[in-house]
């Protein structure tokens, strides 16, 4: 009887130690998924007009998902879909023209999409975390591979109490590379387009992430 009691005690001790050890052991950490915070997203572009001034505009509607894997940056993913019909240059007449066949032809190509294929972490001491993101940018029915330097500006709890992560990228594209050639030859409207995109993502709970 004493022997059985002693054996039970050891078994219980061993079980307790196993439970405590399992709870304390670091689990494999899954990547964090962030969905676009619609109210903190700015997609701004600039284009030369007759080599005299720059006209600025923005796209007001977009969706994005960022899968941030801090332990394996190469597994990080960026996806964004911009509603081309939400273009706004503060001039309704020009906006209609931009949506027409001379430029974006939004009736035929309603969305601008970017999907990353390769991500390389490029941290710099003074600039912080920068991801060199290579992916397919599809605009006006044309897909081209581009590399965007996406800087992680900051992370932390937002006013809604959820975790936020903020990003910034700036690049320059040629609209003629995407089949938008109107007024390029006479330089009425510039070919080079300056693009600035800054946005925040709201971290999604693991169980709440749904496929898109």
């Amino acid at each position: 009887m004493i022997k059985r009691l002693w054996t039970n005690a050891w078994l219980q001790f061993a079980l307790a130690v196993s439970i405590i050890t399992a709870a304390a052991a670091p689990t494999a950490r899954a990547a964090d998924v962030f969905d676009l915070d619609q109210s903190h997203c700015s997609i701004v572009f600039s284009v030369s007009h007759m080599n005299m001034s720059y006209t600025y505009g923005m796209f007001r509607q977009a969706q994005a998902r960022i899968t941030l894997d801090r332990e394996n940056p190469a597994a990080t993913q960026f996806q964004m879909t911009i509603n081309a019909e939400s273009i706004d240059t503060n001039n309704p007449g020009r906006d209609s023209h931009l949506k027409g066949p001379d430029f974006f032809d939004t009736a035929t190509y309603p969305a601008i999409t970017f999907e990353s294929t390769t991500v390389v972490l490029d941290s710099r001491p003074q600039q912080g975390v920068i991801y060199q993101v290579t992916g397919n940018l599809t605009m006006h029915g044309v897909s081209r591979q581009v590399t965007l330097p996406i800087q992680l500006l900051g992370e932390g709890p937002g006013p809604d109490g959820k975790a936020h992560a903020g990003f910034l990228t700036q690049t320059e594209l040629k609209r003629s590379d995407f089949g938008m050639t109107k007024f390029v030859e006479n330089k009425m409207v510039g070919d080079a387009i300056g693009i600035t995109v800054s946005f925040e993502g709201i971290k999604q709970e693991p169980g709440a992430v749904q496929s898109r």
Binding site: D105, T108, P110
Partner: protein, 303 residues
């Protein structure tokens, strides 16, 4: 927006010269009237459409021709097929005629289908019933234009019809451009230039008697497509209807009416009364459409 010398050359001179040269070559080869005119007009139209993109670069022009994306990129191929059907009709035996009519009818359905299929925005908005209805409407329009242009030869007056078509093509160009689609407007200008080249060359070669009716297919497809695509973008329904009426009246068949007959000539045809009636039916709605579009455009610019 003023057109530079480069624009005038590529959109005006190039299609006009291409059409004229094609007319000369076709006449030298002793091709039949339908084949001659179809070849000439189609060459001019396609040259104009390609030339529009050549201004940016030959690579861009070739890319758009060989890998069409937007509806407008398909126009050269649609005009080419229409010309092919017309040429087939010129040389096919009589027993084939009804099959060719059937082929043209199927093509009249294919043209709006091809042009509208790329409109992702509209496709997602329209129900299945609406899609069928809209397709049926535009198919009937293209078939009617092709048929009435071809029957227009019975009214004779080829110079009147040819001249009015040039003016109507220019009017379509202005209306569509003022509505916000400069690219389409330029194609209207190229169409006018191609017609001018074909008509001028035919006059010089003594082949004017056949008139633009012999190129009914390519003309119906090109000019009708500009109205359809214009309406898909910013052209109002009223202006689209006015342009359609104008186009039909310019080259289509007119019934015999008890009009006062003035001095008639081999070129004028049956009488000035018919010519005046045709010009009125074509130019009045055209003028209204052009004025309306330009007025709206100026109001947008100046507030």
């Amino acid at each position: 927006m003023p057109l530079g010398p480069s624009d005038v050359f590529w959109i005006g001179v190039a299609p006009s010269v291409a059409a004229a040269i094609a007319m000369l070559v076709a006449c030298r080869l002793r091709m039949r009237p339908t084949a001659t005119w179809s070849t000439s007009v189609a060459c001019g139209l396609i040259a104009g459409m390609v030339a529009q993109n050549v201004r940016v670069g030959w690579h861009t022009a070739l890319e758009k021709l060989l890998h069409p994306h937007a509806a407008i990129d398909w126009l050269p191929w649609l005009v080419l097929v229409a010309a092919g059907i017309s040429m087939l009709a010129a040389y096919a035996p009589r027993s084939w005629q009804r099959w060719l009519v059937a082929l043209a009818s199927v093509f009249a359905i294919a043209v709006p289908l091809r042009l509208l299929a790329n409109n992702a925005s509209a496709m997602s908005r329209w129900s299945l019933g609406e899609k069928f209805g809209i397709l049926a409407f535009w198919s009937a329009a293209f078939a009617l234009w092709w048929l009435t242009f071809a029957l227009g030869r019975h009214n004779r007056q080829p110079l009147v019809r040819g001249g009015l078509l040039v003016v109507v093509a220019l009017g379509i160009s202005l209306t569509v451009a003022a509505s916000g689609a400069l690219t389409l407007g330029e194609l209207g200008g190229a169409a006018a230039a191609a017609l001018l080249g074909a008509t001028g060359s035919a006059s010089a070669l003594g082949r004017i008697a056949d008139g633009p009716s012999s190129a009914a297919g390519p003309l119906a497809v090109m000019l009708g497509s500009l109205i359809l695509l214009g309406y898909s973008y910013e052209l109002t329904a009223t202006n689209a209807a006015l342009l359609a009426i104008s186009l039909t009246a310019a080259a289509g068949w007119l019934p015999k009416l008890p009009l006062p007959l003035g001095r008639s000539s081999a070129v004028a045809g049956e009488g000035w009364g018919e010519g005046i009636l045709r010009a009125t039916l074509a130019l009045v709605p055209l003028a209204i459409a052009v004025a309306s579009a330009i007025t709206t455009a100026l109001a947008d610019i100046y507030g």
